[in-house]
Symmetry: C2
Subunit: 458 residues, 2 copies
C-alpha cells in the first residue's frame, strides 16, 4: 500500500513539475518577446553597423572596422569574455565601376547595369566586345557546342522560378549559372559570361555573388546584369542576333589579409565547456550595405546575449555569439571556427545560424536526428503565439555547416522569404528595408530556442 502511495505521489509530483515547467517556459517566452519588442536596441545597432560599415567585404577596411565595433559592442552588452579567432582572408577588389553597353546596328547603343561577380578576373582596360549567345542552362551550352560559342559572350538568362513559395528554392534552382557558368562557357571557348541577376524583382540593380573557376578551363570575366537589363538584352537579341556587347571590369585579386571571427561568451554555470553557438556573418558584398544579408543575422545573434543579460538568465551551458568573417567569398571564418572546435575538442550541443534576412520570422529549420526533432517539435507551441509556425527539417547555413561532421545539431531561423532576394547582394539591401519589429521578433525567437536547448538539452 505504501509502495502504491509512493508511486502515485511520484507520478503526481512529476505531473506537477512538468506543468510548472510549461508555465515557466511560457512566461519566459513572453519575457523574451516583450523585452525585444519594447527596446530599440536591435534597430539602432543595425543602423549603426550598416551606415558606418557598408561594403564590408572580407579584406576591406570596412570589414575590419565592423569587427572592432562588434567586439566593443559585445563587451558593452556584458559578455563574460570576447576573443578573436585569427584567420587569413582573400581580398578581391572590384576596382572601378563596371561598364556594359549594347551596340546594335538596328537599335544603337544601350547602357546596361552590370557588375563583376566576386572572384572574377577583369576584362583588362580595353574591355571585351563580342557577339552574345543567350542560353538558359548548361545542357543548352553543350548542344550549341564550340562552333556556336567560341569567341562569344555567353548570356545565362534563366530566371528564378516565381512559382516556388519559398524563394530560397527558386534561388537554388538558378544559382549554378552564377557559381559555375563562367567555366562551363569557357569549356566551349566563350570569352566572357553575363548572368541574369538572381532576384525575383524586376529592377535595375545588378545582384552580385561569388563565382568559382574550374582550373581546367580558361578564367574568363564573369558579370551579372540587372533583371531589367537582362530582359532588354534578351529582347534586342531576338531582333538583332548579331548585336555586340561591350563589357569592362577592372577587378583584381589582392594579397590575402589578416582578419578574424569575433566570439563572445556567456559562461555556463553547470557545463561551462559545453557550447551553444549562435551566429551570423559580419562581412557583406562590396556593392551593398548588407542590411538583410547579414546585418540582421549579426544583430539577431548579438541581441540573444542582450536579452539573456537583461532578463538575468544564467545559462547552464556556455552561450557563444559568433561574428563569422567571410561568408560571402571563401567561408574562411566558418572553416576556422570548425577547425578550432575540433582542435580544442569542444563539445557543441547546438549551433544556430541567422543568415536569411531580418523579415518576420516563420520558424526554424532543423538539421538534426529523429530523436532531437521529436523533442524540439514539442516546444513549438511556445513559439506559435509569435508567428513561428514551422519547425521543418532541412539545411542550416554556410557558417555552421562545417560543424555537421562533428554531429552538432544545426538550426537556422527562417524569416519570411518573399522580399529577401529583392535586396540580396545588391545596392538595394539598405537599412530602410529592415523593419524594427520584424527584426526584434527574430532575436526573441532565437533567444527562446537557446533557452529551451540550454534548459532541457537535446
Amino acid at each position: 500500500m505504501i509502495k502504491f502511495i509512493s508511486t502515485i505521489s511520484l507520478i503526481l509530483f512529476y505531473l506537477f513539475a512538468n506543468c510548472q515547467n510549461q508555465q515557466n517556459d511560457s512566461s519566459i517566452a513572453a519575457s523574451f518577446f516583450s523585452k525585444a519588442l519594447t527596446n530599440d536596441w536591435a534597430i539602432n545597432n543595425l543602423e549603426y553597423l550598416v551606415t558606418n560599415f557598408p561594403k564590408r567585404l572580407c579584406g576591406t577596411k570596412a570589414a575590419s572596422e565592423a569587427l572592432n565595433w562588434s567586439e566593443k559592442t559585445l563587451k558593452e552588452i556584458g559578455a563574460d569574455n570576447v576573443f578573436r579567432q585569427d584567420l587569413m582572408v582573400v581580398h578581391w577588389g572590384r576596382g572601378a565601376q563596371e561598364k556594359g553597353l549594347i551596340k546594335s546596328e538596328l537599335f544603337g547603343k544601350n547602357k546596361i547595369n552590370v557588375c563583376a561577380l566576386g572572384n572574377s578576373v577583369s576584362t583588362g582596360q580595353n574591355g571585351i566586345t563580342a557577339e552574345v549567345i543567350e542560353v538558359q542552362n548548361f545542357e543548352e551550352l553543350q548542344k550549341l557546342g564550340a562552333e556556336n560559342i567560341k569567341g562569344k559572350i555567353v548570356f545565362f538568362n534563366r530566371a528564378m522560378d516565381p512559382k516556388f513559395f519559398y524563394t530560397f528554392q527558386a534561388y537554388g534552382g538558378a544559382a549554378n549559372q552564377r557559381t559555375k557558368g563562367a567555366s562551363e562557357a569557357a569549356k566551349y571557348g566563350a570569352i566572357a559570361v553575363i548572368i541574369r541577376s538572381l532576384t525575383l524583382s524586376n529592377d535595375t540593380f545588378p545582384h552580385t555573388g561569388v563565382m568559382r573557376y574550374d582550373t581546367n578551363y580558361a578564367k574568363i570575366p564573369a558579370f551579372c546584369v540587372s533583371t531589367f537589363h537582362a530582359d532588354q538584352l534578351s529582347n534586342l537579341l531576338k531582333k538583332d542576333s548579331k548585336l555586340n556587347l561591350y563589357l569592362e571590369s577592372s577587378c583584381i585579386m589582392l594579397p590575402e589579409e589578416k582578419s578574424c571571427n569575433v566570439v563572445a561568451e556567456l559562461k555556463g554555470s553547470e557545463f561551462p565547456n559545453e557550447y551553444i553557438t549562435i551566429g551570423g556573418h559580419i562581412d557583406c558584398w562590396d556593392n551593398s550595405a548588407g542590411a538583410h544579408d547579414d546585418g540582421a543575422g549579426i544583430i539577431h545573434s548579438m541581441e540573444v546575449l542582450r536579452l539573456f543579460k537583461e532578463l538575468g538568465i544564467k545559462p547552464k551551458h556556455t552561450i557563444r555569439i559568433v561574428m563569422f568573417m567571410d561568408e560571402e567569398m571563401d567561408q574562411r571564418g566558418a572553416k576556422k571556427y570548425a577547425e578550432l572546435v575540433e582542435k580544442n575538442k569542444e563539445k557543441h550541443i547546438a549551433a544556430i545560424e541567422s543568415d536569411r534576412g531580418g523579415a518576420t520570422p516563420t520558424g526554424f529549420s532543423l538539421d538534426v536526428n529523429d530523436s532531437i526533432y521529436n523533442k524540439v517539435i514539442k516546444w513549438q507551441k511556445l513559439f506559435n503565439n509569435y508567428g513561428y509556425y514551422q519547425f521543418i527539417r532541412g539545411g542550416s547555413g554556410v557558417d555552421i555547416g562545417p560543424l555537421k561532421k562533428f554531429g552538432v545539431p544545426l538550426f537556422a531561423i527562417m524569416p519570411d522569404s518573399q522580399r529577401y532576394f529583392d535586396y540580396h547582394h545588391s545596392a538595394n539591401d539598405t537599412f530602410d528595408k529592415v523593419n524594427k519589429r520584424e527584426l526584434q521578433l527574430g532575436s526573441a525567437g532565437i533567444a527562446l530556442l537557446v533557452y529551451m536547448i540550454d534548459k532541457y538539452g537535446l
Copy 2:
C-alpha cells in the same frame, strides 16, 4: 452477399471520390498560386490605382475616378455584369495644410507635424493657442476634472502597446483616444485635442483617421500628431508645463455627394441567386495614396475574378466582387450593400473582406458558427504550403460586418501585421511599400477559399 458487396463498393467509391477530390483541390490550389505568382497583373494595377487616384476620400473627384477605373477594369477582366449601387456620402474637406507650433519661453518655437482627424471641425482662421495638458486615458481626464482642463488643449499620448504580437490588438487598445477623445475632453471644457498617432513606428507622419462627436458636448477641433513630435511635446511639457501650443486647421464639412459601390459578378452555374461576396474599400484617406489601406484589398478582390477567369473555373454560386465606398468616414457603402441584400432577399453563403494590407498572408479570421468552423478548418492543409498557417475565430471587417445580422459566415484575410501601422492613414502608405509577391499570395489564397466554399458549401 450482394448487399454486402454493394455496401463495400459504395464505401470504396466514396473513398475513391474523396481522394480524387482532395487531389483535385491540391492541384487547383497550386494553379491559383502559380497563376498569381507568374503574372504582374496585381502589382501593375495597384500601381495604376494608387498613383492615378491617391487621396480618394469619399466625396472627392479622385474617389469618383477610382470608381470609374474599377468598373472599367472589372469589365475588362471578364465579369458577367458590373453594376453600381448608388448612395450618398459625406464630403469632409481638409482645407489648407494644418499648422502646429509649440511656443515655450524656455525652449522657443518648435513646429510639429499635425493633421486634422476626419470629421473634425476647424479651429477657424486664427487658430487656437492654449496650454496643454497631457493624459493617457479617459480615467485620467476624469480625475483631473474641469478645474485642470477648462480652456486647455488636451494631449492624448497613450502609445500603442508594442508587446502585442498582432498589431491590430495594439491599435484596438489605443484607438478610443482618436475616435472619442474630443468629446471626452470637451466634457471638461477642453478647447481642442491632439492625439498621438496610432502607429508603432517612430516617425514624423501624422496618421489620421475618423473621429466622432458626442452631440451632448461642444464640438472641438481634433488633431493627430506624429509619434516623433508627440514624444517631443511630452518631453518639453515635463520641463515647461506652461508652454503654449498653437493649432490651426481649416477643415470643413461640405454638402453630401452622390457616390456608389461598384459590384462585379461572375454568375453561378447552379445557384445564380446565391452569392459569395469578396470585397475591399476603394476610398482612402486624403493624406495618403492608400496602397496598403486598402488598395491591396481592392486588388486582392479584383484578382479573385481574374484568377477564376484565367483558369476557366465556372463557379456554382455567383461570385461578387465589391468595391465598397466610404469605409473610412461613415461606412455608407457597407450599409448600402447590407440594405440591398435585405431588400432583395439575397442569399449570401459567405462574405470575405481584405482590409488589413497587402503583406504576406498568414491566414484567415472566421466569424462563423462551430459547424462551419469545423468544416473550414479541414481545408487548412491546402493552404499550409503557401504560408496560410492560421484559421482563427474572430471578427471580419467593417464592410462585410453588417451582413452578420443576416447570419452570413464572414471571413477576413490576415496578412502579416508587423508593418501595417507604419503606413496606415498616413502619407507613408505609398506604392513602394507593397511587395509584388506578397500581394499575389493574398489574391491566390482568397481565390482558393472562394473555390472551396463554392465547391463544398458551408
